[in-house]
Symmetry: C2
Subunit: 466 residues, 2 copies
């Protein structure tokens, strides 16, 4: 008697006629007049359930089988046979149904076998992975994460886990969370009345990182190809469906590389990830396309099928100025592109992903490489239909004198960047990289409309759950 996952069984790896045991949870129970109960059992290994046919000859048929409700845990043993119902699936002729865990008060169990709103499911986040939708999201999220690691590993990149608690605001990217063990009711003070941070855990002010990029550059300039994949934090009080205070970022960094290499990597990377999802999560993607977002599969296929367009920021401004469309935000050389502009470019004008390159220097970060025109920097954004900006990257300023000028121009404290300057003093090389949010990818692939549905335990703003 072999125990097998539902995925193994449904994929045909277990021969018909084999005696099998499956363990999982009841999705639905249906009783026929012929004295059979049909149990749809899920173990979460895939989207589809296995059907277990339990005859009324079972000892516990009346006392237990007929009382099974959605969510009950069972262990079912029987013979695997070709299903007599619709399709050519396999089912288990149930010789034995053992109830492992009942559902306490089935009437009030939050996960009923019926559609629930996403809002409701966010309130029972600890139970929502039991639904078809969030089972699919969890498996797809896993598949994306695996594909990310695999993509880089196969190409000789090394994963670097850069510090989460940090004393530096890496790129001035928004407000940071403070990390402290001081007793807030008895804060140590300096002579001048400020907080005496030397008494705090790290002996200085400490924050949650907003990006691992600057730190990972040091590894890039030793190992050539590296990436981060870890959590980052932004304390922006933006109550939107597109922002999270805590999110995972992927940040590859490549040495001996310029902005074109960076754009090549971004394109190849995204296509690899989407391909992996389509290949490895067919059942979940079909469910998503049927129930969540009709275009979920076709838009990934389209994304993969054609080369990305590449245009300069300056060209993009020209296109937008000539667009037969009114925008809410003004189109002006020197302004950053807004989501409406990005979506127009990718969706309407070009009709496929586009890399916009070489942005005005004053709207981009200090570490980006100044172009020869001294007006633009070697920055890029990848814009995609249906989501807008999905990747932001740049070639880094590898020339010390230029970097120093930029540090001064941005009003940063050069003392805080001595270690970063060292990378330019010792064997500097052209290098480039990009960053993208893991949850943005999940949202896009799963056709979600609220980014809080892309994380295992959603937080509403102003509320840290669990």
């Amino acid at each position: 008697m072999s125990s097998a996952s539902v995925r193994e069984i449904l994929s045909g790896r277990v021969a018909a006629g084999t005696a099998v045991t499956v363990q999982g949870w009841i999705k639905t129970r249906r009783d026929s007049k012929a004295g059979l109960s049909f149990l749809a059992v899920s173990d979460g290994s895939c989207q589809d359930n296995i059907q277990v046919v339990a005859p009324n000859t079972l000892d516990n048929y009346d006392t237990e089988v007929l009382k099974l409700t959605s969510g009950c845990a069972v262990r079912c043993s029987g013979k695997l046979v070709a299903s007599q119902g619709k399709g050519q699936g396999m089912e288990i002729e149930g010789a034995k149904v053992e109830v492992v865990g009942w559902v306490d008060d089935p009437e009030t169990y939050p996960i009923q076998p019926k559609p629930h709103t996403m809002e409701f499911l966010r309130e029972v986040a600890h139970l929502r992975p039991r639904t078809n939708t969030f089972g699919a999201v969890a498996r797809i999220r896993h598949t994306i994460a695996q594909a990310i690691h695999r993509y880089f590993h196969e190409r000789e990149f090394f994963w670097v886990n850069t510090p989460i608690v940090t004393a530096s605001d890496c790129e001035g990217a928004g407000q940071m969370f403070r990390v402290s063990t001081l007793d807030m009711l008895n804060l140590p003070r300096t002579d001048k009345g400020g907080i005496d941070w030397s008494k705090d855990f790290f002996g200085k002010e400490a924050y949650l990182t907003v990006s691992g990029q600057l730190a990972v550059e040091g590894y890039c300039l030793a190992l050539s190809k590296v990436y981060t994949f870890g959590p980052t934090f932004r304390a922006e009080n933006s109550n939107t469906t597109r922002h999270l205070a805590e999110f995972w970022m992927i940040e590859p960094e490549i040495a001996f590389a310029d902005l074109n290499d960076d754009a090549n990597l971004a394109e190849d990377f995204l296509k690899y990830i989407f391909n992996a999802v389509l290949n490895e999560r067919g059942d979940d993607m079909k469910f998503i396309a049927d129930r969540v977002e009709k275009s979920a599969i076709t838009r990934l296929e389209k994304f993969i099928s054609a080369p990305f367009e590449r245009i300069d920021y300056t060209q993009a401004i020209d296109i937008l100025k000539k667009a037969p469309k009114k925008f809410d935000y003004p189109v002006e050389w020197g302004n950053d592109l807004q989501t409406e502009h990005e979506r127009y470019l990718a969706e309407e004008h070009i009709g496929r992903p586009v890399v916009v390159m070489n942005y005005p220097e004053q709207i981009k970060s200090f570490y980006m490489r100044l172009n020869d025109d001294e007006k633009t920097v070697a920055a890029m954004d990848v814009l995609a239909p249906g989501i807008g900006e999905i990747i932001g990257g740049s070639q880094r300023e590898e020339r010390l004198d230029y970097l120093d000028r930029r540090i001064q121009q941005f009003g940063l404290n050069p003392d805080s960047y001595q270690w970063y300057r060292d990378f330019r003093r010792y064997g500097t090389v052209p290098h480039a990289g990009f960053g993208l949010g893991f949850e943005r990818l999940v949202v896009y692939v799963c056709g979600l409309t609220n980014i809080r549905d892309a994380i295992p335990y959603p937080r509403t703003p102003g509320h840290a759950e669990f």
Copy 2:
């Protein structure tokens, strides 16, 4: 002219006679009287360097090649030939050596081509990946991380990224870091003089997680096999070489499983990881064995070769009481095992890894399953020669009435655990899991003596770097 990594070239994937370009950094330069310079070039893709032979007929031989020092960045093109020197390696007959980045003031460059102390290298953490030792550590760390993800993926586990910022102290495991955006100089107060946390970012007190286990259980009870791999935090002011305030944890959780299944998983998992390192990082492990820890390879081979021993805690106490050895800490049923006890068991008494099972209930966490004797819980520790405890795990208490008793016994607030109780109310099943520290694995594999050398940017206690 193909550009290739040093790893590709040295692995024999590029045929002799091929024109190649390598890009990397000078490790050493040696000049022969015959008018040749031998450049050892590393791009960090592997431990070994490629030798580039630069003849004095190069245009820039006197002006540049002879001025190259350790750390300079170069691009070298030439023909790949079998090395005439020691061994059968490949080398590049240098037709062209282009200097990409000089080393500013070579005399004071911290990474000289000579041995450095670990203490010194911790002070220049941003440059230490350029050394042979920390290059090896970085590549091995990557290989371990990849092997972890691959191990679980191949066995149908799903990765779940549990919350980093949390409102609950998951297992009471030591002091937590507070996360806040409040202005410390103007803290909002309640009527009663306390801090008004409702004004903070999350509307309540928030902390950095100490473990993802409780949260991941919810996914286990829907997807059957899951794991976390992410950062966790402990604000313990332990200035030791074995503790970090910030470290990455791996926490698998399996449904329909008991303590024996858990021990099986732990053993299989560790052996897989060590096997992967030996297979995939031969050159780095050889370096580690030559320069850092002589037994690095043999102890992993030994670890893999035999089944783990399994004993009960009660047996372990008997063994320790009869040991022909004096311990600093008393051996008494009901006390936790100390490192000296653990190492005696694994190293001297048994001589290979041992799983100690079924600990006294009062020294273990509230969520562990009470055994029928009502004196012990289904907890286990994996102890290994050379490191002591490497994994801690347990079968979880899946019975609601028992869990409620334990919550009360431990003085915990039941209201904070309603969501966790739900897992026992709705389709509960026996389940088990374990946790292990990623950096402990790195320390063990790389033969390091200070855990701060297992992370990319080391922190000394009381000091958050970068």
